[in-house]
Structure formats: structure tokens, C-alpha cells
């Protein structure tokens, strides 16, 4: 059951071999036993989850089920869910019960999925290791000394440890793909604008994009079918014809032209990751794909550009957390200024404050042109690099991360080293392109590695197909960490 695919679960449910209530209760009890150590979840609400499971069972009994009805899903705590504590990993929202559902939550709810709980994350999605969470670090289920990656570390851990069959994540510079890689699961960040951002607490609005995290590409396709779609509450959401991402999953990939950016296969990638990625590429060669060397000359600037633009937007997005209307408020203050200062000093963690400072600085009078505007120009150049590359290839592949998961505490004192975890993922985010990570084996200390696939705009179906073909030929995605189900 724990290793079953969503399709298998769906069949079991519709064949009444198992009820959603049983399935949900099963996962909840597993969470109860494993979560105290893994810390993947911030909030659990057994009653709410089981009530939803009951409704799902009723939907199934009434013959009104969708392919996802009755299947539990863990929600990253960045998504507002009505009646649920929604903290975004921050003390600032440690008392915030959302009065409304994010569009993503609402869509899964309508599909009949069961909210299993809210997963841990880096505070306001700012981090690459899940160590900035007010609720403490999450452990990597493959090696509990290691980080799970971030910011969607709780979701990645939950899926990898088989605490949930699926989870939601959000990705601003790599927050779905990097933890997916470090936890050995599959995750996709769709084209910017495909998944509604309404109710997903904003970090950097022009980059934030929600997406699914699961064991396989096939599961991702099913989840994406429910998740994608125009939303009138989000002005940046795109109006497009609905696509069935499962339709072409099994198409052969013969003749596929895979672009390999020379900048990604250079200094910086550790040898264990390199070995795993090369082996995956060899597998694709067997499947009939061809390779072209491409160049993304400006991608080396992606991390600095990202760390100007994302903090700039964040500094403004996080201004609403002022202690006036909801959320944390300092207990003692002498006047308005003091209320703001103490509330934000006490309510935000160090990394969030660091980014607010950076963002405030780069938007300030006299610095705006040199930083913000300059970064915007470079962002365009980075996107143009991709546009040129896609004239030569169908997809781009490379490592998702330069190394396997590092140890908890290892990079805490060195923000720059931490920021470089996103070196391969942030360029696609800046260009608004879809990116995904699939597990391709293990590196040092038997920690997982991921293959990064970047597609052209709206090529999610093609990416999922290419990933699925690989997963038909290999079994990395089926492996679960010890003590986690096998």
C-alpha cells in the first residue's frame, strides 16, 4: 500500500478493496509513529482528515469519483487551507488559522483528495535545507543526519518516507526540485502561470509556482491534471485549454534531442552526482535519445540575479506581517514604530530578516538601477539563452543539485554556500520555464541524486513523458528509505 502508485490506489478505492477512511487512517498512524523524529509535518488534524475521507468514500459510493478521489495528499504549509493552522514555517503565522482555501487546496478538495496535514518548510519558503523553519529542521529519511532540502523539505520527506502518497510544493528558485532530488522523489515546477498562486503565501511573486511532489512522473501527471487551470483570482494565471498530462506518458522517446548545457557539466558538480547523472543519460541513449551540447552563458548569473529579485519582491510581500491584523504580535511595545519593530524582530527568523534587508536595500533610492533594474535586464538575457537553446533541442538535462544532501547544520553559518544549492534550478525559475527532478540513483553516503529536466514553456506533458519512460526502464523511483516501508 505504502509504495502503491496513485493509479493503483485509485483502482483499490474504486474497486472498494479499501476505503479512503482506512487509507487515510493508515497514513495518519504511520505519521504518528515516524513524524516525531522526521518532523515532516507541522500540523495534523485527524478529525478533519477523516471527515474528508468520509466524504470521499461517499463520492466513490455515489459514482462521482475522479482519479484522485479518496487519495490523501500532504499540503505544504505555504498553502492556506480553511480552518487549518497555516504557518508558512514562521513564528509570525504561528497562530494563523486560515479563513479561506488556496485555489490549489480547493481544486484537490473538489477532486476528492484528503488533506493529510500541513508539511514543514523553510520559513516563508526561504531556504534550501528546511533548517530555517520555526518548527525545527526536517530529517532526510534516507539518512537522518542529512537535510531533506528545501524549502519544500517537509513535503519531500513525507513522500520519500511514505508518510503520504503525494504532496504539494512550491518552487521559487528550486524549492520543489532540490528537495525532490535530495529525498529521491519526483517533483515538477510547471511553467509560471499554470498553477494559481491564490492562497499560496507569496515569497517572490514573479517566480513562485506551485507544483506536485510524488514518487513517479505518472503520479505527478495525475496530480497536475487537477492542479493546473486558469484562476480569476490570480492575474498572472494563464488562460489555456485544459491538457491531459497522462495522455502521452508512454510515448516512445526515440529521436528526442536532449540539450546538455556545458555550464552545468563543469566544475562545481561533485563526482558522485556526475556519475549518477551520466548513468541516467546513458539510459536515455538506450531509449533512443540523442544529445546536443548547448550553452547557457548567462546561467552563471542566475544565483546573483535571483538573490536580488527574489528578496526585492519578498521585502514588499512580507510587509503585511506587521502584527496589526493577524498573526504574531510582540507582547510589549511602547508605540506604533516599536510594535512593528518588535513584532518583526521576534516574529521573523534570521534568514527571512536577511532577505528583507537585502530586498529593501536593492529597491532603495540610489540603488534601484544598479541592482533591481540590472537584475531584471539579466533575467531577460537568461531567458533568451534558453530560447536559443530550445532551437537546438527538445529538453535540457543536467544535475538538479551540485551535491547530494549535506548534513543538518553543515551550511547554516554560510548563506552563500546555501544559496549555491540552487545553482542549477534558479535559471529556469527566472525564465519562467518548467523544471522537474526525478531520482536517478545514489551518491556519497548512499544519499539520493536527481536528474534535472527543463522543458520549453508548456512542455510539461513532454517532460512527464520523458521522465515516465525512464521510470519504466529503471526502478530508482520505487525505492524507499530503510524503515520507511520496504
Amino acid at each position: 500500500m505504502l509504495n502503491a502508485s496513485l493509479r493503483q490506489l485509485s483502482r483499490l478505492l474504486s474497486d472498494k478493496k479499501i476505503s479512503s477512511t482506512e487509507l487515510t487512517a493508515g497514513f495518519l498512524s504511520r505519521i504518528k509513529s515516524l513524524n516525531p523524529d522526521l518532523n515532516a509535518f507541522i500540523t495534523l488534524d485527524e478529525e478533519k482528515s477523516l471527515n474528508q475521507a468520509k466524504s470521499a468514500d461517499a463520492m466513490i459510493a455515489a459514482g462521482r469519483s475522479t482519479p484522485l478521489t479518496g487519495i490523501p495528499i500532504a499540503q505544504k504549509d505555504i498553502f492556506c487551507a480553511k480552518g487549518w493552522l497555516t504557518t508558512c514555517g514562521s513564528r509570525m503565522l504561528s497562530n494563523f488559522i486560515s479563513p479561506y482555501d488556496a485555489t490549489v487546496v480547493e481544486r484537490f478538495d473538489q477532486a476528492g483528495m484528503v488533506n493529510l496535514g500541513k508539511t514543514n518548510m523553510d520559513e516563508f519558503a526561504m531556504g534550501s535545507s528546511n533548517e530555517t523553519s520555526y518548527y525545527g529542521p526536517v530529517k532526510n529519511p534516507w539518512d537522518r543526519l542529512a537535510v531533506p532540502g528545501g524549502s519544500s523539505g517537509g513535503s519531500a520527506c513525507a513522500v520519500a518516507a511514505r508518510l503520504a502518497p503525494a504532496a504539494t510544493g512550491s518552487d521559487t528558485g528550486g524549492s520543489i526540485r532540490q528537495p525532490a532530488a535530495l529525498c529521491g522523489i519526483s517533483g515538477i515546477k510547471p511553467t509560471y502561470g499554470l498553477v494559481s498562486r491564490y492562497g499560496m503565501i507569496a515569497f517572490a511573486s514573479s517566480l513562485d509556482q506551485g507544483g506536485p511532489m510524488a514518487k513517479s512522473a505518472e503520479d505527478l501527471a495525475l496530480l497536475l491534471n487537477a492542479m493546473v487551470g486558469f484562476d480569476e483570482h490570480d492575474s498572472t494565471s494563464l488562460q489555456r485549454e485544459k491538457e491531459d498530462y497522462t495522455k502521452n506518458l508512454t510515448q516512445p522517446v526515440e529521436g528526442l534531442r536532449i540539450g546538455l548545457p556545458k555550464e552545468f557539466f563543469a566544475e562545481g558538480m561533485s563526482s558522485d552526482v556526475s556519475r549518477a547523472v551520466e548513468a541516467a543519460l546513458a539510459e536515455y541513449r538506450k531509449l533512443g535519445a540523442t544529445f546536443v551540447e548547448i550553452s547557457l552563458p548567462n546561467s552563471k548569473l542566475a544565483v546573483p540575479v535571483y538573490y536580488v529579485l527574489a528578496p526585492a519582491e519578498a521585502s514588499s510581500n512580507l510587509s503585511r506581517f506587521d502584527g496589526v491584523r493577524y498573526g504574531y504580535r510582540a507582547a510589549q511595545y511602547s508605540n506604533l514604530e516599536d510594535l512593528y519593530a518588535r513584532t518583526r524582530a521576534e516574529g521573523f527568523g534570521e534568514e527571512v530578516k536577511r532577505r528583507i534587508l537585502i530586498g529593501t536595500y536593492v529597491l532603495s533610492h540610489g540603488y534601484y538601477d544598479a541592482y533591481y533594474l540590472q537584475a531584471q535586464k539579466l533575467r531577460r538575457l537568461i531567458a533568451e539563452d534558453f530560447a536559443k537553446a530550445f532551437e537546438q533541442c527538445d529538453l535540457i538535462m543536467g544535475p538538479t543539485t551540485p551535491t547530494v544532501a549535506f548534513n543538518i547544520g553543515e551550511k547554516c553559518g554560510d548563506p552563500i554556500q546555501m544559496y549555491l544549492s540552487d545553482i542549477y534550478t534558479s535559471a529556469a525559475s527566472l525564465a519562467g520555464l518548467p523544471g522537474m527532478s526525478i531520482p536517478v540513483g545514489f551518491g556519497d553516503k548512499n544519499r539520493p541524486t536527481g536528474l534535472h529536466i527543463i522543458g520549453n514553456y508548456f512542455r510539461e506533458a513532454q517532460m512527464l513523458n520523458v521522465a515516465h519512460r525512464y521510470q519504466l526502464a529503471t526502478n530508482w523511483h520505487e525505492l524507499a528509505p530503510p524503515d520507511s516501508g520496504n
Binding site: C80, T86, Y100, T236, S316, H365
Partner: protein, 478 residues
């Protein structure tokens, strides 16, 4: 030294759209605190703005009315600052690429016409309100107004006196109501003025240091605040001092302006394009559709009234002050071709005086334009005199809808033009006033008018005054 005053105005016009500019909440005034603030207005985590199409249409309407450029794309930007009634910690406004750029309006002071150019008009959201009175030691926040659409209209510094500034503000006040984008209610804050004021030696080309005066919620305060500020600045300069650039608050009770914040504590608003809102692309066809629906504008009407009805510029100005008055005038004149001046005099005189007295708007006038035309027709055809007409008008007002003819007949007010009848009244008055007759004959012209007055009185106003004149002259010459 001679000083020249330089004034530019920033006017915040609250748009009378049904819902807020970035949310679906209602904008109705006066509801219970925080009852009209939705998730977006109170800036819950995760919410996003969606631009109200109607607000954009209103801004375009304004842009077309002042012959400005409509920018496409137009960009929304965030203006960042902390304040309890600003829920997001930033205001969505516009910096570069405002929706409306350029344009001009014509103002009149006395007989002078002057064109004032506008810099820009941009869309933004209003903040909520902080109330300090009702909660001891605390501040109450009402977010009902938060997110209401505003059009901020910025003029070039082209006004040279408080009189011009008021004239400009009045023209805009009339225009925004005329094109139906704002209710113009200044007490409720629908139309708010800030003035940038500076002075410089007459003939100088460079601008002096300016002060921005806030809290001007009536035309009277606008005028007084500018006058005070100009005097203050001249005082300082003549005393050898210099002006500090700052924002000043007008205190109506004390009739003075005082420092609110200096340039040093000016915020760095850290404007940047709002990533939650896409650039607004305004198709040419949409602009043309809006143009077609625009009513005839006051400036155009004004010229037409002067040309077609031979009205003075002054009269035309008053009749085009609001769309409602112009409508009333046009309906009346439509029934009385060629009587522009008569209609104008009556609407600006009797009708407007009575409305003022009773505190009514012209749309609430109990005498309809059709009825007024019916009354004025009886003056032009000689049935009644202008003086009797005022009584009839009063009767129409009181009776709430009775026609002039019915009242004239019922009260027997028809003008008497029958010579024998008039001669009878003349003889009666002459017989009773031998002294005045003698005075007149001795050369005292004034005695004539007094006699006319008494004859009119005897006839209870019904005698045709022209005939009274000629009969009396004939009799006195005998």
C-alpha cells in the same frame, strides 16, 4: 519686492465604481467599520489583487475628457510604507507609465480664460481610516475604504493665485461628476486636494522651494490655506530666511498650515512594478468605444451656448457648471427657441435662488423644465409681466406641479392691455395724487415713476406696464 505665486494641485478623485479597484468588495460609504473589507482588502496571507475593469474605463474617460494620452501598456507599481491603515504595507499605485498623461483644462477667473496643463492622472488604491477618538489609548482601524479606487490627478505648476487654484479645482470637480466617474462629495472625501505652493520674485524663471499642503477638503479651505501659505513664505523670504521643502497640514480651525513632515523624514517608498499585476494593455477599439459613450463635455457646451444662444461667457459658465444644470437649461430652451437669455436669467435667478433657499439640487426641482418653459412663454407672448411671473412661479413651486396657465387663470393674473381699463386706473391714481402731478409738471421726473408704481399697484400688477407708460404720458401732457 513683487512676488509671484506658483501653485500645482494634486487631486485625489474617488472613483464611483461598484466595487473596489483590486477586489470585489463594495465601496458604499458609511457602512459599519470593517464590514466592507474582504480577504484581499485586509491583506490576508496569500491573497492577490485583480484589477477592476470599470476603474480603468473611468480613468480612460477622464483622459479623453481632458484630451490626454492614454498610455498602453500602463504599469502598476508598489509604493512601500508601513501604516496601520495600509494593510499590505504597500499601496498599489502607478509611477512610470501612468494610465493618463498630459491633457489640459480651461479655467475662467473673471473675464480671463486660462489653459492649465495636466502632468498625469494615475490609478491607485485608497487606504483605510484610523480613528483615534473612540478608543482610549488605542487606535481603531476601519478598512472599509481600503482598496477603493482613486484617480490621482496632477497638474503642472501653472496656477498663479489661490483664485486660479480654486477655479481649476472647481473645473475638475465639475468634470469628474459630469463624466460620471466620481460623486464629488467633498465631506465624504470623494474629492481631496493637496496643493504644492511656492513663491518666487516676479519675472524669475526658476521655481522657488515648494511646500505641499494637505487636508484641503473644501474649496474655501483650499483658497485660505494657499493664501496663508503664500503670506508665510513671503514673510520668511523677506525676512532673509529660506523655505524648507516639507509637507504641511492645514488646520481649518486656526486657519494656518503647520509642518507635518520635513523632506528629511520623507519616506523612501521603494517603488517597483507590482509582480502580481500584469502591464495593462488598452486596445485602441476600447478607447474608441469609451469615447463614443462620452457625453458632450462642458467646454464644448460652453462655446455652443455662447454661439447658439448669444449668452455671455459668464452665463454659459454657470449653466455648464454641472451636467444637471446644463440639462435643465437645454430642455427649457428647447421649448422656447430664441429665448436663451430669458431662460438663462430665470434658471440662474429665480430657480437657482429658490433651490439654494430650500437646499435642493436641480434634479429635485419641483418645477420641471417643461413647466418653466410654459411660464416663460406667457411672458414672451405678453399674457403676464415678468413681475407677475415671479408670483406664478411661486405658485407652481408651492403646488408642486401645477402649470403656469392654470395658475394664471385661477388667480386671474392675465395682463390687462385694454386701453379703457388702464385709463380708468390712471385716472383714479391721478385724481388721488394732485401734488405729484404738479411736481411732475414742474419738472420733477421722479414723480412719474412713483405714479407708475401706484397705477401698477392699483391694477394689482396686471396692467401692461408699457401701456401704463404711454397712457400716463398722454394724460400728463393734456
Amino acid at each position: 519686492m513683487q512676488w509671484e505665486t506658483v501653485i500645482g494641485l494634486e487631486i485625489h478623485v474617488q472613483l464611483s465604481t461598484r466595487s473596489k479597484i483590486f477586489s470585489g468588495a463594495s465601496v458604499a460609504y458609511g457602512a459599519a467599520p470593517n464590514s466592507q473589507a474582504c480577504a484581499v482588502d485586509i491583506a490576508l496571507p496569500g491573497v492577490l489583487p485583480v484589477l477592476n475593469r470599470e476603474a480603468v474605463e473611468y480613468a480612460i474617460r477622464f483622459g479623453l475628457a481632458i484630451d490626454a494620452t492614454i498610455n498602453s501598456p500602463s504599469i502598476f507599481a508598489r509604493k512601500n510604507y508601513f501604516y496601520p491603515d495600509l494593510p499590505k504595507g504597500y499601496q498599489i499605485s502607478q509611477l512610470e507609465h501612468p494610465i493618463v498623461e498630459g491633457g489640459c483644462v480651461t479655467i475662467r477667473t473673471g473675464d480671463q480664460e486660462k489653459v492649465i496643463r495636466l502632468t498625469r492622472a494615475h490609478l491607485e488604491e485608497d487606504a483605510g481610516k484610523s480613528t483615534h477618538e473612540e478608543f482610549h489609548g488605542m487606535t481603531g482601524i476601519d478598512l472599509n475604504r481600503a482598496g477603493t479606487g482613486l484617480l490621482e490627478i496632477v497638474s503642472e505648476p501653472e496656477m498663479r493665485s489661490s483664485t486660479e487654484a480654486v477655479a481649476y479645482a472647481r473645473v475638475l470637480h465639475s468634470l469628474v461628476r459630469w463624466i460620471g466617474i466620481c460623486d464629488g462629495n467633498m465631506q465624504e472625501g470623494s474629492f481631496r486636494c493637496d496643493a504644492n505652493v511656492s513663491v518666487r520674485p516676479a519675472g524669475s524663471e526658476t521655481l522657488g522651494t515648494r511646500c505641499e499642503i494637505k487636508n484641503l477638503n473644501s474649496f474655501r479651505f483650499l483658497e485660505r490655506a494657499i493664501d496663508y501659505e503664500v503670506a508665510r513664505q513671503i514673510d520668511i523670504l523677506e525676512g532673509g530666511g529660506s523655505i524648507t521643502q516639507e509637507t504641511r497640514l492645514y488646520d481649518a480651525d486656526r486657519n494656518e498650515t503647520r509642518t507635518m513632515r520635513s523632506k528629511e523624514d520623507a519616506h523612501d517608498y521603494r517603488y517597483f512594478p507590482d509582480p502580481d499585476l500584469l502591464p495593462v494593455i488598452i486596445p485602441h477599439e476600447w478607447i474608441e468605444q469609451i469615447r463614443e459613450k462620452l457625453p458632450e463635455l462642458p467646454g464644448h457646451k460652453n462655446h455652443r451656448y455662447i454661439q447658439d444662444f448669444s449668452l455671455s461667457a459668464y452665463d454659459a459658465g454657470i449653466l455648464t457648471a454641472t451636467r444637471e444644470v446644463a440639462d435643465y437649461f437645454e430642455k427649457t430652451i428647447g421649448l422656447l427657441p430664441g429665448q436663451g437669455k430669458l431662460c438663462a436669467n430665470w434658471i440662474m435667478g429665480e430657480v437657482s435662488a429658490r433651490l439654494n433657499k430650500e437646499g435642493l439640487e436641480i434634479t429635485q426641482c419641483p418645477v420641471t423644465p417643461e413647466q418653466l418653459a410654459g411660464l416663460l412663454l406667457r411672458i414672451t407672448d405678453g399674457t403676464i409681466s415678468g413681475k407677475i411671473a415671479k408670483d406664478v412661479f411661486d405658485g407652481m413651486w408651492q403646488s408642486n406641479g401645477e402649470n403656469a396657465d392654470a395658475i394664471i387663470d385661477a388667480k386671474n393674473l392675465r395682463q390687462v392691455s385694454d386701453d379703457s381699463e388702464i385709463e380708468k386706473w390712471v385716472d383714479e391714481v391721478l385724481a388721488a395724487n394732485p401734488q405729484q402731478v404738479a411736481d411732475y409738471r414742474a419738472g420733477k421726473e421722479k414723480a412719474f415713476n412713483s405714479l407708475v408704481g401706484q397705477i401698477m399697484k392699483t391694477s394689482r400688477g396686471k396692467a401692461n406696464p408699457a401701456q401704463v407708460n404711454s397712457v400716463l404720458k398722454k394724460r400728463l401732457a393734456e
